[in-house]
Each structure stands twice: as C-alpha cells, then as structure tokens.
C-alpha cells in the first residue's frame, strides 16, 4: 500500500492522477455538503445516472472522446432530468421519490441504448465510454485534470462568493426571500454547482457511484460539527483522503476499479462517524440508557416517598413486593433499588424491606416539580 503510494509519487502520470483525485475530493466535499443539507442527496444520484445519455450523445455528435463536449453533454442531460422531475411532481400526484426513480432509470436506459448503438459504429473507440460507468482514474491525462481543476475552481469560487446567500437558502429560504435575495436564482446556481461537481467526477468514479462521493463525505463531516463552515472543510478533507486512498488501491492492486475503491473508503469513514462521533449512534445509545436508568430510579424514590407520606413517616420501611405491586412500573424495581442503595439514597431494613435515607429524602425533594404534579393529581 505504502509502496504503491510511493510509486505513485515518483511517476509523472501518477502525479496527474493524484492531482485529479485531490481536486475531485475537495470539490465533492464542499458541494456535497450543500446537497446533503438541502436533502438533495438522491437528486445527486439521479443526476449522475442521468448524465449518461448526454455523455454518449456528445460522443456521437463530436465523433471522438473530447473532454469538454462530454462534460457539457453530461451536465445538460443531468439538468434536464431534474427539470422533468420538477415538472412531473408539480403537475401530477406522482411523488418526488417516484419521479426520481423514473428519471434515473429512464435516462440511464437511454444512455445504455445509445451506448450499444455506439458500439456498432464503425470507427468507434467506445472503450473510453465504458469507463464512465465505474470510473477509471488511470485513464486520466493532464488535460482532463486541468479541466477538472478549472471546473472545480469555479464551483468553489461560486460557493465562496455566495457563501452567506447559500446559507440562507439552506436554512431559511422564506426569510432569505424577504431579505431581497432571489431564492430561485440561488437555487439554480447551487444546482449548477452540484451538476458540475458530478460531471467532473464521472471519469474517476463513474456515473453509478458518483452520488455517493457527494453524500458520504458530507454525512461523515456532519457528525462531527454543527457549523456549515467547518462541515464544508471537513467534508473536503474526508473526500480528498478517500480519493487518494481509493486511487492508490486501484493502482496498487490488479482489477480493482477506482470508483468502488474510493466509495468504500469514504463510506467506511461515514459509518465510523455515525457510530462513534460525540453525538454518534453508540454514544447516544449509552446516554439514553443512562437516562432511562435515572428515570426509573426517580420513580422508585418517589414511590417510597409517597408511601412514606401516607404513613406520615418518610423513613418508613416498605417491602420490596409492595413496591413492585404498588408501582406496577413494569420494570425491574430491584435493579433500581440496588443502584439507589449504592448511591446511598435507600437502605435495607431487614425482611426484604427498604426505606429512604436522609439523603434519599433530600434527593426526592430536589426533583420537586414532579412532586407538585403528584400532589395535584393523586388527590
């Protein structure tokens, strides 16, 4: 792995490829953050699939594998798909998810039909087109990287220039509208930025998996930060690291296509973040369990307190059975009692009886708002 990395650096073509992976990583991290925040993740999926007929058509019209026309063709057909989705959902009972499924599959099908048609053209070097399905970074040449870099540069420039406006668009478009910004214009602009990010990723990652290159870094970054600025930077970083690792894997091992290799890296980072970030799944699970225990303990304490009130003696000892029956809590009262005993709030009074300690009584009165509720309702 390290060797293959080192090998890459020494090599001129390898530098080209790495440069491509880095610029792609930065762009997809930054732009993908917007796609995820705006809940447009799957739109990215649709757009990358929908780019295929544009790519093939551009090839048919230009008759050669020219980078720029292919980019333009891809972008146009991706945008057309989005426009059609909007047309259908705004004018019929078809919901967005179905409209997306339709656009994705039909555009992709048209692309495949065109592709099989191209295969039959006499002098077609269609091998180059096949790469767009799963991506092949090895095929990148200097000119490709230049276009990737330039397109990416403009995409990021736009994000930088319209930083505050895009923020409004993502978080509160209605408010943004009242501030005098044209939300429609910004919407078009951000869609254009997303489309250009997808288009430049197609050759490296491929139409099938490009959407994930946008989504996964942003999802991963979102787990660690709440601010848009640091999210964008972190996502770019994650995407870049995954891009480099994926490219290295693909170059270092035989028969490993670049796209899937990159996607596996970036997905693993995303899953790790979802599980283990400070607000992550496992972290929260742990916190929830703690909170549940606390609620249950408070219950037992209050039950003892209530029973004590009835006996006009807060330190009155009650049997565990009574607590279980009387409370009908439906949970393990014993476990809570043992925990409370450890905390010094209750103590055993022999014969399986329990009573509140002084500090237990203080603890109950500390949870007092509930206690008031208790008084007003149990009467």
């Amino acid at each position: 792995m390290l060797e293959s990395m080192a090998g890459l650096y020494s090599d001129y073509t390898a530098r080209t490829i790495l440069l491509g992976a880095v610029s792609l990583g930065i762009v997809s991290g930054v732009v993908g953050s917007y796609a995820v925040i705006r809940k447009q993740s799957l739109v990215g999926d649709v757009m990358s699939h929908a780019a295929l007929p544009g790519i093939v058509l551009a090839f048919i019209i230009m008759g050669a594998k020219e980078q720029l026309p292919i980019f333009i063709g891809a972008a146009l057909s991706a945008v057309l798909a989005v426009l059609l989705i909007n047309l259908v959902t705004n004018n019929s009972r078809i919901k967005t998810d179905s409209a997306m499924g339709i656009a994705l599959s039909v555009f992709f099908a048209l692309g495949l039909v065109l592709l099989t048609y191209v295969q039959r053209m006499p002098d077609a070097n269609q091998a180059g087109l096949d790469k767009f399905l799963f991506g092949q970074a090895e095929a990148l040449v200097e000119k490709d990287v230049l276009i990737i870099g330039l397109t990416g540069f403009f995409a990021i420039l736009i994000v930088g220039l319209f930083w505050k406006e895009f923020k409004l668009l993502c978080f509160d478009p209605d408010f943004g509208g009242t501030m005098g910004f044209s939300m429609k214009f910004l919407d078009v602009l951000i869609t254009a930025v997303i489309v250009s990010a997808i288009v430049i990723g197609l050759q490296t990652v491929g139409v099938v998996l490009m959407s994930s290159m946008l989504i996964a870094p942003a999802v991963a970054a979102r787990q660690w930060t709440g601010s848009m600025g640091s999210m964008v930077i972190l996502a770019a970083l994650i995407a870049t690291v995954s891009g480099i690792t994926g490219v290295a894997f693909s170059a270092g091992f035989e028969n490993v296509p670049t796209g899937p290799a990159v996607i596996i890296c970036v997905s693993l980072i995303a899953f790790f973040s979802i599980l283990f970030s400070p607000n992550g799944f496992l972290t929260l699970k742990f916190r929830d369990a703690k909170n549940m225990r606390k609620i249950k303990k408070n219950y037992v304490l209050m039950a003892l307190y209530d029973l004590g009130l009835e006996h006009a003696d807060l330190g009155y000892a009650h049997s565990e059975r009574l607590l279980i029956l009387g409370s009908k809590k439906g949970f393990n009262v014993r476990k809570s009692l043992l925990e409370l005993e450890n905390a010094g709030y209750v103590e055993r009074a022999g014969d399986g009886n329990w009573r509140l300690t002084q500090s237990g009584i203080r603890e109950v009165t500390d949870i007092s708002p509930m206690e008031k509720v208790h008084e007003s309702t149990s009467v």
Partner: protein, 258 residues
C-alpha cells in the same frame, strides 16, 4: 376475554404512572389518569405537551418507559377491540387510490383478522356508518376528491364501524368546516349518551366547555384532570401554557423543606 366490565365503578381508561421518553427527552412524565365510562374528555395542552403521545401510548403504539394502561379493567392487549382510534387527518396520504366506502370498511379489518376479506356484511356496516356521518352520497367517491371536513367524517365513520366502546381521537376538528365540526360533536355526544367513552385531543380552548364534560390538562406531566367546571380554570391553564415546561426529571429546581 374482552368486554365491558359490568361494574360501573371501573373506569373506561385507567392510566397509572405512565412515562414515555424519546431518547433523552421525556415526553410524558408519570401520568395518572382515570376516564370514567360514558364521559367525553378533552386532552389539552401546549404544543409538545405529549397529547398525541398519550393517545398513542394508551394503545401501545409507542413503547413506554413505565406505567400501566387498562381499558375497562383489563390490559389493552385483551381489550383491543373495545378501542377505536381516529388518527390525525394529516397523517395519511389522501391521494391513496381507494374509495370512501373502502376506507370506512378498513374499520372492520381488525375484527376480520389476518387474510380474511371483507364481504357483504362489512359493506353494509360501512354504509351504515357513512349514513351516520352524513356521507352516504359520497360512498363511491374517491378519497382524493374530499374536502378536509369530509375526510374527517370518513375517518370517524371508519372508527364507528369498529363498534368499540372507547374512542380515541387525535385532533378531530383540525382544519374542518363549521358544519362538520358540529356534526362530529353531535355524533360524539350520541356515542357518549349511549354509554361510550370519548377521549379527544383538542386544540381550541374556546370550545372546551361547550363540547366536553371532563378535561385533562397536560404538559409532559398531568397538570389537572376532572370535570370541566372544576379544573378548567386560568390557574391550571397558566400552569400548563404559561412559563416553560419544568417537568423534566433530570432538572433539579426549587428545593422544598420537608
């Protein structure tokens, strides 16, 4: 064994120590509530007070941390057929391809159980329920063509088909026209007059006294419950609506001498 307890002292719904939490947020805290048979009860409280959660957790649709619910003295599981539920109208997709009468027929699915299909008897029953809510002429209409009020009547008809003894309604007057609101109140009052029990999440405090005899005022904890003329007063409403909710168990506040 299900059925209504003969003893009239046993309440239609009894909720004991009900606590529900989503993650680390407590939504309902230690609710003790008794709904006497044959009463019409409003559940009121500010947004996020747990009104819908109460209705849902009575039916076990939401897991509870603690607490017991009994319907006519027996567990909900045994009495499922005694309870009929009218969810919020906005919770379903009214573009669903089905007709009014078919929607109402869904009320009989519970009795039919798995796999058996509704037949003529269920159809007649559905038509009967539609007649009660004044929607008979719409029985073959597609549900996508109904107004908000008509949708709510269809939901009520579906509940009537269940021929239960306890009705749980979630905001039945949300976004309906005045005529429908009157009609629904009339039907609910008829049910109550016939010994049924109605528990309804209600939003409009102005109509509480007119529609209901009893009320439960909720804000995470139960603020008050009882007869409308006794507990529906500004003091209790202030407790529920004024100020911030202060019922979270983990929050420690006002120390009180014992």
């Amino acid at each position: 064994m299900s059925g209504i307890e003969k003893n009239p002292l046993i309440p239609a719904i009894r909720v004991t120590d009900l606590t529900v939490a989503y993650g680390d947020k407590t939504v309902l805290w230690d609710i003790d509530l008794e709904i006497p048979r044959g009463s019409m009860v409003a559940v009121v409280g500010p947004n996020g007070a747990g009104k819908t959660t109460l209705i849902k957790s009575i039916q076990g649709l939401i897991p509870r941390v603690a607490g017991v619910v009994s319907i006519h003295g027996k567990s909900y599981q045994k009495q499922r057929k005694e309870v009929s539920y009218v969810p919020q109208r906005g919770s379903v997709d009214w573009d669903f391809p089905t007709s009014v009468v078919d929607t109402v027929k869904m009320g009989s699915y519970g009795d039919l159980g798995w796999i058996r299909r509704p037949g003529r008897k269920e159809h007649e029953k559905a038509l009967g329920a539609l007649e009660k809510v004044d929607m008979l002429e719409f029985s073959n209409r597609q549900i996508s063509q109904l107004s908000g009020g008509q949708q709510q009547r269809v939901f009520l008809a579906r509940a009537l088909v269940q021929s239960a003894s306890v009705y749980l309604l979630d905001e039945p007057f949300q976004g309906v026209d005045a005529t429908t609101e009157k009609a629904i109140v009339r039907i609910l009052k008829e049910l109550v007059a016939g010994g049924k029990t109605v528990l309804s999440v209600h939003h409009d405090l102005n109509t509480v006294s007119e529609y209901y005899e009893r009320i439960a005022i909720l804000n995470v904890g139960l603020v008050a419950s009882g007869r409308v003329d006794e507990v529906f007063n500004s003091e209790n409403l202030m407790k529920a609506y004024g100020g911030k909710t202060s019922f979270f168990p983990e929050r420690k506040s006002t120390r009180r001498a014992v």
